[in-house]
Amino acid sequence: MAKAEFDVPELQEYVDVPEVEEGTMAHVKSFVVTKPEHNTDLGFPGELVEDWHDKALEKLDDLRGRYRSLQVFLDACVKCGSCTDKCQYFLSTKDPKNMPVGRQDLLRKVYRRYFTFAGKYFPKLVGAEDLTRETLDDWYNYYHQCSQCRRCSVFCPYGIDTAEISMAAREILDSIGYGQKYCNEIIAKVHKIGNNLGLPGPAIENTLEGLEEDMVDDFGVEVKFPLDVKGAEVLLVTPSADFFVEPHVDGLIGYGKVFHEAGISWTMSTTASEAGNFGMFIGSYENMRRVALRVREAALELGVKRIVFGECGHAWRVAYAFLNTLAGPFDFLDPDYPVPQHICEFTDDLIKEGRLNLDKSQNDDMVLTFHDSCNVARATRMGDKPGGQFEIPRNVIKAVCNNYVDMHQDTIGEKTFCCGGGGGLLTDDLMETRVNGAVPRMTALQNAMNEKGVTHMAAICAICKSQFTKVLPYFGMEMDQIVSVHQLVGNALILTTQKSEGDDEEQENDD
Amino acid sequence: MHRLIDLKRVAVMMVASVLLSFATAAISDSTVVEGSKAAGMDKGGCVAPQMDMRRNHMEYLKHQRDEVVHKGDRSSKFALAECVNCHASKDKKGHPVPVNAKDQFCDSCHDYAAVNITCFQCHRKVPEEK
């Protein structure tokens, strides 16, 4: 059981909507950038500027002119309260500023005060307030307790997406030199080295060679994990966590086996060795674009025909929804395939074509359920039908496992709860927020364990996997209960020339 | 800057539409029709003042109906037949015109205010022949 400096909430049978309790999370402040270069590398002032008040308002004005979402969302909210009980951070912290509309209002009250008629002349009447140092700190604290999961936007009658407001607020904070250490340090690393973890090329190469050796040892098959191979068919871009942490790396092994079996040449890239794009979290179009362009450059340089993304939630959002905008057009790639493709789409197609020899019983030691990652669920699609993002990963899991059940209806699909660590919160200085934010998911998982005998939860997001590995122990569960989807695929996939455990292996592999 | 230009364009459109709507047909100050008995009387001749009748005629008629149907009391002055007697006009040949015919006494306002009258599905719409 992990130690904590805060009260770890106990899981109940249901997640009840709590009574509001003001200020319970006001003390939680993610670390601010201390090394100026973490800001300046991203094009922001190194530290909080003197005239932050005016500069912040200027930025707000600029953003509302460039983003219709921001302008409309600031105006349209009717305070109906429909979103108030939808945020995982509110449900267990009770802090009303963690209610989506409460969070939005931190920015909205300032917008109203300086940019609307009603707020200029009747501030009290419409809840408009001056921009003060306290408000600025509230922005910092509470906009860094939003995982930008978009759950609120599903239930808002106008689709008001607090994630958009959070992103704008973070961009304002960055523009006055009040950035968050975690995100900005990581983005600086990507700009410099090419991935979030700051793994240099040789380190990646080393890991991949190790994996290839393991493959030969375990299966007697030369499954390759190619890096920077020119002329390969597919460029795989995957979160850098896949290169070395459990259970992520088991997912990478799964991808490798799938490519091997499909007989499709593929490669990874040292310069685009990161699917993640934290530029989205800080709402910075410029930084997001800079990070995304590496993928385009790598694809051009390696001369690939297709781009496939590995298991990562927000990365898939940037890839699916933004990549074409940020780094397109991709007319140099094979037009027969969507750009980019998700590894689950890729594997699902192969399964449907019957090109993978799968032995489901390899996963019989587990009863599985699936955590829909928020960005995949509410900001992207897979396949060509709406909702494919729910079906395709489940189809893949069901094709490789005998025991699969879903968690409670209200906690999956478009209503899925965030793992608690998304949106740039996956840092130890936000542990209290993360553990609290995980409560609804943990509750649903626990119920599935008790009622349906679930033993493991699969996910297709590097952040979800890291977050669950860390928080499961807080709730008395095991950290290895979280698995990668392609780990399951890897387990079940029988390689064509694999050394046999039984005798009937050869026949089964006849096409 | 472009805001100002938009403002002007919108203002011009506004004024134009206001002027257009001025051009719509006017309705006279009294709705009493020519050729009816009422037309020959002065303003105080009705069963109640014009202001009152305009607002409340339907209540009076409803009230009178209840009095008659439930209590058999026919003493009220608000009898539909009397309204018709006074307010129906005659055509050129001297035949009475139904009060709910187009532009006649009842119709002129009810059509104007989009109200369907159902009274005359049962009740007579021309004066009683004496």
Binding site: R68, T325, A379, P386 | A25
Partner: protein
């Protein structure tokens, strides 16, 4: 009095129409640099029209959320719609529109009359919710309560006229169709009209902007096709050219 109301309504209409038009122009002109539709989302334009229709007519997202708010809100809005259609009779000359339209307006009359009760009932429910649910109370500013009270009193004064102390509809119509005519000096009417003018005056400056807002909400009105079709706005394009 008629003179005062004439001025008031000319002013209120101007503010309402100009204010709202400017807001709509502002929304329409503000770019949407990224595809941010909330998925699962329609992949075709007609699918988006259908989604928007369900949002506007059935309040689909609200329905997914809290049934109580949905019931009160939906009853209020649908009743409001009927009431407003019924009110068209004060502003439209029967001869100015096709006969079918006028027949339709006639048909709505009885429903519109009783819809007034639905409207007030819905508003009472919404008001109670605002006062009683602590989360909603927390997010409410004075204007949020006043808005409901204002609409409630508009409805109440309207119902008073419809069912208790009638007013002179024909005179009102003459007044509002610029045919001279004096406004009847009836107390409920004065309340009704003053509050309606206030409503029109604050419309473009208040949360009533949810009416145009819903149609401009990118999370609801975008087609889910980022991979199929490149989406790029001018300022992003300019940035791209500057950096390449």
């Amino acid at each position: 009095m008629s003179f005062f109301f004439a001025l008031l309504f000319i002013l209120a209409s101007l503010v309402f129409v100009v204010g709202l038009t400017l807001k709509i122009i502002q929304y329409a002109k503000t770019p949407v640099p990224l595809k941010i539709v909330t998925t699962p989302a329609p992949v075709t334009k007609s699918g988006v029209v259908l989604r928007m229709f369900r949002e506007v007519v059935f309040f689909e997202s609200l329905f997914k959320s809290t049934k109580w708010t949905w019931i009160f809100s939906w009853v209020f809005h649908m009743a409001l719609l009927l009431v407003l259609i019924r009110h068209l009779r004060y502003f439209i000359e029967p001869d100015a529109v096709p006969a079918v339209v006028w027949t339709l307006i006639e048909l709505v009359q009885p429903f519109g009359m009783y819809a007034g009760f639905g409207m007030v009932l819905g508003l009472v429910g919404l008001f109670l919710r605002r006062v009683l649910v602590d989360r909603v109370r927390y997010i409410s500013a004075p204007s949020d309560y006043l808005m409901l009270l204002m609409l409630g009193f508009i409805g109440f004064s309207g119902l008073m006229m419809t069912f208790v102390v009638h007013t002179d509809i024909v005179a009102i119509k003459q007044f509002f169709t610029f045919n001279g005519g004096q406004l009847p000096a009836d107390f409920p009417l004065i309340i009704h009209l003053s509050l309606v003018a206030l409503l029109m005056l604050i419309f473009p400056f208040s949360k009533l902007l949810h009416v145009p807002g819903i149609f401009f909400s990118p999370t609801r009105n975008q087609v889910d096709n980022p991979r199929e079709k490149r989406h790029i706005v001018p300022w992003a394009k300019a940035l791209e050219e500057e950096q390449n």
